[in-house]
Amino acid sequence: MAHTTLSAARTAWQVGAHSAVELCEASLAAIADQDPVLGAFTEVTADRALSRAAAIDRDREAWAHQPLAGVPVAIKDNLCTAEVRTTASSRILETFVPPYTATAVAKLEAAGAIIIGKTNCDEFAMGSSTENSAFRVTRNPWATDRIPGGSSGGSAVAVASGMAPLALGSDTGGSIRQPAALCGIVGLKPTYGRVSRYGLIAFASSLDQVGPLTWTVADAALALSVIAGGDAADATSAPHPVPDYTVGLTGNARGLRIGVPRDLLNGEGVDADVATHVQQALETLKARGASIVDIALPTAAAAIPTYYLVATAEASSNLARYDGVRYGFRAPAEGRDTLRAMYCRTRERGFGAEVKRRIMLGTYVLSAGYYDAYYLKAQQVRTLIRRDYERAFEQVDLVAMPTSPTPAFRIGERIADPVQMYLADIFTVSANLSGLPAISVPCGFSTEGLPIGLQLTGRHFDEATLLRAADAYERDANWSVHRPPHVGARTHA
């Protein structure tokens, strides 16, 4: 039963082939078997999941029309889950149990999905390798000495290794798409505002977006249909009606114009295998009836610095609330403490190195005398990047790029070089800066056998076209039949 897609799992429950309890048990068994090695989960909610599964099985009729009834799902640990510890993989929230549930998670549960556990990530979603988690290392199931990508690394591994058919992640600069690419699965970052951010522990509020990680494009479409929609609790969510995204998956790519920013693709640092497979994917789409057009995104080269100015500025403010006063970690008092000393020690010990680096960067960016040169300038460049895309979308329906310039790198390889690590986001940050929807879909394997992802970016709120193209490609390429080798605790212990 493990290695089942979301669509297959829900059909299995709907037709009565498997009970929700059986689906849950299969997931839990896969976790028990593989997770000691892979480290995808920070918390497995077995009891809660099994009792909920039993309740859904008991009341089949009431749940019969819910799209995800009985299906186990994994949730990135920066999405709040009532009564379930939510840490954002940070020491400072190690004991934090929120009294509320993120809207996207609540929608999954209302649709009958069962939370099987919370997944590891880079602390506060800051990173591209999941190495910044305060708690554990997450390994790529295709090569366990390699990183799974990040920050939603745990979610990507949970899906890729068959521990759950769907995981939610969050994407601030590529945190869904890049780990999906490096783990050989599908990752979708919806349009900014398409999915409520309520209950998502904020990293950079104007960039953060919740989205699904799945085996197939059809599964991503199914999941998006459930979690999308306006939310009175998120003033930046969009009221646009939510279509059934699975309906448009016709396999037809005829008439689609796909733009390729050649300058970017041929740029420095793009792995040859990556370039080759992305080119082949474009040929496949062309054979399906799409036309491939060269386009220019002149400002895209400035996307990384722009992103790291905007994201760190917002992060420095978003993370100010972790002060040890009301909840979470507080450093123990030392003698007659001053308030300032309590703050400093709490944040010194509660945050990891990368989080502190970004808080300092962001604080600097917003400081008097630097604001205009950094934050304001970054916002101006952000506008230019958005205009680049608007101009491109006058000619084309989608923009294609690699998701990541390289396949998964080795654990520890870039940890000492933050700038090199930041460059992993070169192709993904533009979609966040411009608010556009983007998807990563598997497009082959490197000579070393590591997954490579193709990224497609669409117009605002046009996830339908994005999903249609990705699905059409997937039908031909069908990379999702390739699953990583079984990684079991027994074989590695």
């Binding site: 999405l79 929120p98 951010r197 309520y198 100010a320 609330r321 002060d323 400081s367």
Partner: protein, 478 residues
């Protein structure tokens, strides 16, 4: 050399929106600590602010009353600083694009009119409250109450147009009256609903350049504002007079000593790292919405005062007194509408009614006698059914019962005695019992006339028509 003071005020007023600005928690004052809180106003991870529309409308109403231009688009920003009573580590406020700009308030001082420019009116959330005293372990522990965190505020910033402590106090009092009048703010300075900070500098009289300013905080009554400013202006004058430069700093008014003391210097000032709040879209005020707020806008005190003079023929003084609060103005207008003569109604509201309110500790918001009831009473006086003196007695009884004036007059037999025969009989009786006074009067001690009138009225139980008594007594003594 003479120096003049230059003063600008920053006033924080809580908006009476019922709920907090970014969540649904109550804003009622005085609840047990940390009972009006939720994940949003406590700054929990992952929660988001959602703007309370009625707070925006109240802000617009206040800004319109202050003659401001309402900006079509205004933007929330984060003001970042660490403090235990600031749950998110930033305050959501408006910075570069406020709700409203460029208004003014005019008022009269004994030596002439004043006009104070309003630079801006912006929306923001209040912080919580640090409780440094009142607990057994207060020597080493500070508690925090977050009931106030997220309460909607407007900040009103004036131009540096004020020139004296007295002007500033009068302006603040005028501003308070307007905000309370409009139901924007409850005016309770003791509860911190209305707070004032002042920027003060001095310069040689007649020069245009501004001197170095000090910001004085904690001026939460008109008296404190005036005292603090008087002290601060004198302090700065003395410094400048001695050729010592004023230091730019924040100073705190110490109520117990009546002085201002340095709190932090310019170098220690926070860098608030303002930037636009990404969790909230810009506030857009459409023409329709503006029109709707305007439509619900009630007549302002100044306009109403002028109308009371023009429409009811009231003296300026009466009109000014009646329009000091909306309740008294409303009461007056309702009394007149119910048929009472305007000037009599004004006298009664400012006299008897005010006295009764004062004695019973009630307010114009909750009067013991309705305008209709008062009008009925005043109509009885006008018709001559009862005397003014008896009316006061009847009014006392109305205060403690629900009966109408007419019912009380009938029940207690208080109808005025106009009958000539009855009054002559009373006079005859009084004259026979007061022969000394009569003799005195006839000997030229006219002052005893008043005494005799009093005796007749007393014999009549106050009910005799005093005019008739005077006439008939004169005849009897002639």
């Amino acid at each position: 050399m003479t120096y003049e003071a230059v003063i600008g005020l920053e006033i924080h007023a809580q908006l009476q929106a019922g709920t907090k600005i970014f969540c649904g928690c109550s804003t009622v004052f005085g609840a047990p600590p940390n009972t009006h809180v939720c994940p949003v106003c406590l700054g929990f991870p992952g929660v988001l602010p959602v703007l309370n529309r009625s707070a925006v409308d109240l802000g617009i109403r206040a800004a319109l009353a202050l003659g401001c231009r309402i900006n079509e688009t205004s933007i929330f920003a984060r003001k970042n600083y660490f403090y235990p009573d600031l749950p998110k580590g930033y305050q959501i406020s408006q910075y570069e694009q406020p709700l409203a700009s460029a208004g003014s308030v005019s008022f009269a001082m004994p030596d002439g009119p004043r006009r104070v420019g309003i630079t801006r009116v912006h929306l923001e959330e209040d912080a919580g409250k640090s409780l440094h005293e009142g607990f057994p372990d207060s020597d080493r522990t500070t508690y925090v109450d977050f009931n106030r965190a997220g309460v909607p505020l407007i900040e009103i910033v004036t131009e540096p147009d004020l020139r004296s402590a007295a002007d500033a106090a009068e302006f603040f009092s005028r501003l308070r009256a307007i905000l309370v009048w409009l139901d924007v703010n409850d005016g309770n300075m003791d509860e911190g609903s209305l707070r004032c900070d002042a920027n003060v500098s001095v310069r040689p009289a007649g020069t245009a350049a501004l001197g170095t300013k000090a910001e004085v905080k904690n001026l939460n009554s008109f008296r404190f504002l005036q005292k603090a400013l008087e002290f601060e202006i004198e302090r700065q004058r003395a410094l400048v007079g001695d050729g010592i430069r004023v230091v730019q700093e924040t100073r705190l008014f110490d109520v117990s000593t009546g002085t201002t003391v340095s709190m932090r210097s310019k170098e220690e000032a926070h860098d608030y790292r303002y930037f636009p709040e990404p969790d909230l879209p810009p506030v857009r005020v459409s023409a329709e919405r503006l029109a709707a707020v305007r439509e619900r806008m009630i007549e302002l005190p100044d306009a109403r005062r002028q109308r009371f003079v023009a429409a009811f023929g009231l003296p300026e003084y009466d009109a000014a007194q009646l329009t000091q609060s909306r309740h008294s103005a409303d009461f007056f207008e309702a009394t007149v509408t119910a048929g009472a003569p305007a000037k009599t109604a004004s006298n009664w509201i400012r006299g008897e009614l005010a006295r009764v309110l004062n004695d019973t500790g009630r307010s114009m918001a909750d009067p013991p006698v309705s305008p209709t009831r008062l009008a009925e009473l005043l109509r009885l006086v006008e018709a001559g059914t009862i005397s003014g003196a008896i009316a006061k007695t009847v009014f006392e009884k109305m205060v403690v019962s629900a009966d109408s004036a007419e019912a009380i007059v009938r029940r207690d037999g208080l109808t005025q005695i106009d009958d000539e025969g009855a009054i002559i009989a009373l006079i005859a009786d009084v004259l026979t019992r007061n022969t000394d006074a009569v003799a005195g009067y006839r000997a030229g001690k006219t002052a005893t006339f008043g005494f005799l009138v009093g005796q007749v009225m007393k014999a009549a139980g106050g009910k005799a028509n005093p005019k008739r008594v005077t006439e008939l007594l004169k005849q009897a003594l002639a």
